[in-house]
Amino acid sequence: MNFAPTYLLGRFFYRIYDFLHHWYFDGSRAFFHRFVAVLEVFERIFAVGMTARFFFHPLYGDYTLVGRILGFIFRSCRIAIGLFVYIILLAIFLFLYAIWLSFPAILVFYAVLNFVKPSSLPVL
């Protein structure tokens, strides 16, 4: 590597590796972090985990029968709505993540396929 051309060749391959690393490894991590951050924001509203933990607790410390029944009803609704929202969120993120992962591959695929059958795909 002390020899400049060898070093340059090494850097050339390193740059390609670096691009792929950023795209797939760092990109995946960024997606995951963003997803967790968004979940945290929604969790502050729906508090699904916490509501489940306190599922059989009465609402607002009202230990009467009414309080317990209302608690059960309200908490059930809250968990259901929360889970629904989380599933939607998960679906959106998975969709975006799939596009992200496949984008470079799609470009290569487009190029290869166009060389084989130039008229079969639309112009980018």
């Binding site: 691009f19 508090a47 916490m50 306190f54 908490r75 470009l107 060389f115 980018l124």
Partner: protein
Amino acid sequence: MTPKTYELYFDDPRLRMTIGGRFLVRVVSYVSYLFIVAAFFTLFFSGIRPLQSLGALIALFLIDYFLHFREADSHLTELPSGEALVNAARYLSPAAFSHIEHAYQRSSFSRGNFFVELAVQLLGVREIREGINRLDVKPTEFKEKAEELLRAEDNREKITKDERRAKVALLGTRAFTQALRSERRFVGISDVFSALSLVGDPLIDRLFNVFAIESGDLERALILSAERKPFGIFFRLPRTIGSFIFESYRSSRHRVVNRAWTSRPTPTLDQFSTDFTDLARRGEIGFLIGHKAEYERMTDVLSRATNPNALLVGEVGVGKETMIAHLALDLVKDRVPAALFDKRLVGLHLGTLVAGAPPDELQKRLTRIVQEISLAGNVILYIQDIHNLVKTSGSAYLSAADALMPIIMNSAFPVVGTTYPREFKEFLEPRTDVAGVFEVLNVNELSEGEAEEVLAYETLLMEKKANVIVSFGAIKQAVSLAKKYFRAKLLPSSAEELLRDAVSEAARRGENTVNAESVIRVAETKVNIPLHTADATEADTLLNMEAIIHKRFVDQDEAVTAVSNALKEYRSGLSRSGGPIATFLFVGPTGVGKTELSKVLAEIQFGSEKAMVRFDMSEYQEKESINRFIGSSGGQTTGALTDAITAHPYALVLLDEFEKAHPDILNLFLQVFDDGRLTDSLNRTVDFSNTIIVATSNAHSDIIVRAIEEGQAIGDIAEYLKKRLLDVFKPELLNRFTKIIVFKNLGPAELVKISELNLRSFAALLARKGIVFAFEEEVVRKIASLGFDPVFGARPLRRVLEEKIRVPLAEKILRKEVRRGEGVRAVLKAGEIVLVTEAGGV
């Protein structure tokens, strides 16, 4: 991360290449990227579909490259876990490497010191120049000095390439550690510059020493310029330092109930309290530097099942409330143990609660509040100045303590209180029922480094308000002076006050910058201590100190020289660090000038006789008197000595008749003489490092009297007398005195001089009242002969002056025989001193 397990090395192949090789790498790299950009345009705009796809792929590559253009190959945040061999070069940002490479190349050519070459090179970077400027150092001067060092033939290095590369490696690894400690993503230019002070190279150390730049200074100075950036164009600076939170929480609405829907609203409590979690949610509080251990302990205590009550004990301004505010922020961020999760931190206003409420109303309020907190189940109660609870108890009505204590003792909800050491000792410690339920956590003072960091943030706010620039030198000076001289409050509050005053002063004077000198100026007016470097006038005074003292004090050359030398050493910065300026034991018969010399010294160097803190140690003969001296153990009374030095840290301490003090008190001075510090009963440390301590002693006056009666001079028995002092003082105490000086007895000739000095001083006093006083030489001799006593020295002189001059003159003034503008002459008539009035002056 476990940095200790890394085995660091630094290797970049480019440094092993020839200059031509490195040049080739640069050229080929630039040309390659130009080629790739050209390829992108050609392919993407070719209109041929497969080539357009490839063009888009190249575009992604280029975008990625430019997004990470300034980044190192690897991130410090992604260090391998466990033991690993780490190449620091991979974490070096391209800009930092480029400067290192350039300096390496230059030093290879010129044989100049690599580190100094690099320092010069880095001065070209705006960030570094700004940092240097903030350290009160002009970058041009710094550069000139560095270049001067490089030019010096003696500093040329004859080292091999390997040795030069070893220097780069040393710097690289130090910069790596520095960047890791500063929690950066890469080793940047500022880390490399900071690391220069850590490589231990004599030449670069010399350069930094010239400008008094210490390791870590630049790092903190850069806070001032670096932290400004996020608030630069898009953001406004916060109003208070507590709001320096970079991760603000979006929602700022008050939460009536918790997220688990188990709590209840607390309307009465809300009326008499502040919800700290609301403030944290709005980003107004929560910024904390230091106090890590105390904070962790506090959260541990508050989250335990039994007795979840913490009591923070610390002086004013030490950071108790800042810790509480940070807890509120952590609660909002869900960064707390499970037991504290989803809770509110509510500060009860005892004053508002108790004030103006009749007893029955107070009881109702308290009952409601306690019920609300218990039912809500999500409240952490914060009671500021909790000692007030106990203070009010015992009154005719049911006090707040009596209502709250049973609940606190039941561990119904977590409570955190704050108090001060003195109040804790006085009010809380004696109440075992109260003290028992709280875990006492002493909140210690921040370190100087932490205080500098706090002040760096605080400075950003001050700068904006006063429209001035504050240098890091000013911050450093404020912290250092506050730590030494302003002990009424602790760091960082004390330093903050000082800096704030310096900023106001600068703004008032219309100055644009606040530097170390500005802070010194303000500090000097506050404590009356000469903190600046001695100027020409003062230097002249110090150099002629003996002569100046002798204008007002006769003979005793050894003592005069000793005190003068001590002051010269102190003001030139060569005093022994850690102890008082000097400690003297003046021994000698009565009336030889021991106290008088102390007075003269206090006036000449310490500004006035009032700067002399005098203790008659015969008043401290009992064992219990130690309580009066340094304060009682219960904290009820403070100490006369510690109070005096806290109020006047720059003073002359005169301990008259030292030998008469109780041995326990004498033992206290072992520490004072050695470390210059004394801890009082409230654990406050009092600093004696700016005091001269003079202890006087008449011990073995029988030996002195006998010697004088036998016609011996004190000088002849001085050594014998010093040895005999061991009968009175412990050897370890005597050894700690800077000097033991035996005062000579005074002869008739000295008495004449003293008489003259006294008469002149009296004349000066009268002159201020508009009366001219003159005297003849015979009068001086007469007074000297009347005032001389071989055993009592000059002591009778004062009485003679009073009888022969002062009292007769006072009577003349009262009889209107002497008026303003007239003169009085003391003459000798028939062997008697007579005062003659002379109208129209003498």
